[in-house]
């Protein structure tokens, strides 16, 4: 399944769809990191608005993405987690600790811009 990755200046925006299999997520992870290197992006927004279920594998993949992107000197922020999904995640103990989160795309961008300012 192709996941659109948009480039907006120094930020990459990846919009995850619903019904992504494990293989899809793996593919995505590799693809995103490649793009960060290719474009020398400073930030990545992963939009999971369309994901109606976030299980342990999805959660781990997101954390791995954030980790690998940080190794390349860029910041990741996850946006669009739905209220019901957030509730289910914390019941399972999936808190995405160590990964930045924001409400939506707008907030995610604001977060990254603030972060870039502090780094500069």
């Amino acid at each position: 399944m192709e996941v659109p990755i948009l480039k907006q200046g120094e930020v990459l925006i990846a919009t995850f769809q619903a019904a992504l299999s494990d293989a899809d997520l793996e593919h995505l992870r590799r693809g995103l990191v490649q793009q960060v290197v290719r474009f020398r992006s400073r930030g990545v927004i992963v939009d999971v608005t369309a994901m109606d279920v976030m299980d342990s594998f999805a959660s781990r993949t997101l954390r791995e993405i954030a980790h690998m992107i940080r190794l390349r000197g860029a910041e990741t922020v996850i946006v669009g987690i739905q209220p019901e999904v957030a509730f289910a995640m914390v019941q399972l103990g999936l808190t995405l600790e160590g990964v930045a989160t924001a409400l939506d795309l707008e907030e995610g961008l604001a977060y990254l811009i603030e972060k870039f300012k502090n780094i500069d």
Partner: protein
């Protein structure tokens, strides 16, 4: 209108998605709230995931169930994989925030209302969970 029993063979990670989508559809058809349908779909995803990770192959069964004055959903995840040696240990692991929960069974129990597990090393595992409509 109301499906009898829905069975999903679990063989690959693709089947995990199929199982949880069918689970959500059934939960919605049974009248569960969106929030509860999400909890159910998430539990199914974790149970199916366990089958793929540890047993390679198994089956999920989803169906409506009646209580004394309420309705619910019954989910059975079964496989003939290696089985769990120490069930108590598997159930005791609290959640770590690392996101890798091993079997994630305590989490599944939190998501659902009733939880039962039978497992014998070499004989496979059966996890039975229920959620009642509020």
């Amino acid at each position: 209108m109301r499906a009898g029993e829905i069975r999903v063979t679990i063989n690959s990670d693709q089947d995990i998605v199929a199982a949880r989508q069918k689970g959500r559809a059934l939960a919605t058809e049974l009248g569960f709230s969106t929030g509860d349908a999400t909890l159910i779909a998430t539990a199914i995803s974790e149970l199916a995931r366990n089958i793929v990770s540890y047993a390679r192959k198994g089956e999920m069964s989803l169906k409506m169930v009646h209580g004394s004055s309420r309705q619910g959903i019954l989910i059975i995840a079964s496989d003939s994989g290696p089985g769990i040696r120490d069930i108590r240990q598997a159930m005791r692991d609290g959640f770590s925030t690392s996101g890798s929960l091993g079997l994630g069974l305590p989490g599944v129990r939190r998501l659902m209302d009733e939880f039962e597990i039978t497992s014998e090393p070499g004989q496979g595992t059966i996890v039975t969970v229920k959620k009642w409509k509020q």
